[in-house]
Symmetry: C2
Subunit: 338 residues, 2 copies
């Protein structure tokens, strides 16, 4: 029994059968169905070992998702997969916790699956050349930058928003509406990561509005857990009953903030405004709708994949791209009444 028999039975070309058996995306559903029907009818088992030997290297791209369970990544993962398959590559994905090492995970995956390139979806912001050497294949940082690291810009690519500038924009949106007692909810002001960058943008906007920084308006919490964010806001509200606005550095925190404010008897936006960054689907359905800077999730995915593939195919060099958010005006920000 050979692939020729399958082709004959199903009435399609040998190369079509091969594409179906190799899980190649460039096959119509009809052809795929006919081939699979033939495979089933003939009880054909592909000779995988032979196939693997003939391919010294695969055409697989790895995706390491750091922070599995973070809803921000869900639509990006889907868009990344679509792009990878459309470009004729296959995808190997591995999801790790936010406290795991994406470079070690990436290195393992790259070796185990003989990957050509890698997309890191979430990771540390402070890589050194030593740390990333373990990867040994082209890679793209998707949705984050190497702002605190020492990598040579020519040795990798990144596609993300400009965290400092977008945070500035969010807080500026509040100061423009008269707010001066503006709290920030974030991971840590000195995490050498996304929170530190967004904290810098917060400080710049305050400075421009001649508002002194006030540590008691800064609430540092564990990043992704909505329950923890909720408790953080509770502490903040007890400590500073005079605050009039909250900048939550992520939508998950913003949603938790709306709930904590409501439970504390504070009206949004009359008694307190809330703005955040991300644009998760769920924040369209909060009461009131969360005002947020929406990340261009599809564009992040498309740009990350296309940049990586250009590098893999020798058609382009590594590069670094900032994409812009778009302001989604909900109902959670109002003018300051105090």
């Amino acid at each position: 029994m050979t692939i020729k028999d399958v082709a004959e039975y199903s009435g399609v070309s040998v190369s079509s059968v091969s594409r179906v058996l190799n899980d190649h995306p460039d096959v119509s559903d009809q052809v795929r169905a006919r081939v699979l029907e033939a495979v089933q009818a003939l009880h054909y088992v592909p000779n995988n070992s032979a196939r693997d030997l003939s391919r010294a290297q695969t055409d697989a791209i790895g995706v390491i998702v750091r922070g599995a369970g973070n809803p921000f990544f869900t639509p990006i993962i889907h868009a990344v997969e679509k792009e990878i398959l459309q470009a004729g590559y296959s995808m190997e994905i591995h999801q790790i916790s936010a406290d795991e090492d994406e470079l070690a995970a990436g290195a393992s995956l790259a070796r185990a699956k003989r990957l050509k390139g890698m997309i890191l979806l979430g990771g540390e912001f402070d890589y050194t050349p030593d740390k990333v050497a373990v990867l040994n294949i082209p890679f793209v940082c998707c949705s984050y930058t190497n702002s605190f690291g020492t990598l040579d810009k020519n040795t990798y690519s990144s596609v993300s928003i400009d965290d400092e500038a977008e945070a500035y924009r969010a807080v500026r949106y509040l100061t423009d509406r008269g707010h001066r007692k503006i709290a920030i909810l974030l991971g840590a002001v000195d995490d050498r990561s996304i929170s530190e960058l967004r904290y810098k943008g917060y400080c710049r906007a305050l400075q421009e509005a001649a508002i002194p920084e006030d540590p008691s308006l800064v609430e540092e919490i564990d990043y992704y857990d909505m329950h923890v964010a909720y408790e953080g806001i509770q502490r903040l509200l007890e400590r500073r009953q005079d605050l009039t606005a909250i900048f939550a550095v992520a939508d998950t925190m913003g949603v938790a903030a709306l709930k904590a404010l409501h439970d504390a008897g504070r009206q949004v936006p009359e008694d307190c405004s809330v703005i955040s960054i991300d644009g998760l689907p769920m924040s369209n359905f909060t009461i009131p709708t969360l005002t947020t800077l929406e990340q261009p999730k599809d564009e992040l995915a498309v740009e990350a994949v296309s940049r990586l593939i250009r590098v893999l195919e020798g058609k382009g060099k590594n590069g670094h791209l900032y994409l812009q958010t778009s302001l989604r005006e909900g109902g959670s920000v109002g003018p300051c009444h105090r």
Copy 2:
């Protein structure tokens, strides 16, 4: 350069190096770090073709996620991966849209990756023996059943909640509080899938309370899109201003229902109660908190993986398990005031 050199350089055993290179989970972070350091320092490249030849079959389990982007699956995927790795297997995951064919996708993945078994996370409820023959490896339906199909129960496993019984329980919770004009928001009453099962449970609870079925209280919508659910509720509210409660068959719909009710000027739960099934993280943070029957997501994952592995290792037979939801009493259901 051989694996022995790497072992010598890193000061660990050859088998430890092998485990690291094969992405085996049973390695401490320290050992992994030392091996990867050695691999890097020595520029060692594993001889993958040789390795593949020596393994006629892999120890990989495939996971097909149907409905990528459905937040319900996010925590289950993570738990499934953890279980698979802990059991000493590797995981190959492929995410497809809700309108794609999980059996065709699974068959492709199984062939391409020489999988030992498969977990289908979401899928059709009406498989025939012909349809599933293409998989040709043991599989588990995770979070759904084959209630409308014709499979021999001994040929596959399933782990899910009892959709009919849980829907009955949700609606019974409403009728017990005096509600009689109870709307249902679902995919379709005859979709031969989850909506049809939950609709049956809804009808049984109505019947028990001697409430006649009323088609104008049934709103059929596209399943996963919260915007579409929102519009469905708007139509429902226009059509039936006298309804006092809504059973949304999924949390995403329940969250959208809270928003649509609020925007229509209806107080929850005073003017209208809402209950759903799922227990997504976000529904803890709605205003009011959504009352929902929480699915045992970790248990679904653990049971699906352990059942599959018992079958793979000849230690057990295929079986079918219903897990129970737990009622999370939020603030979205109150007594009927009319």
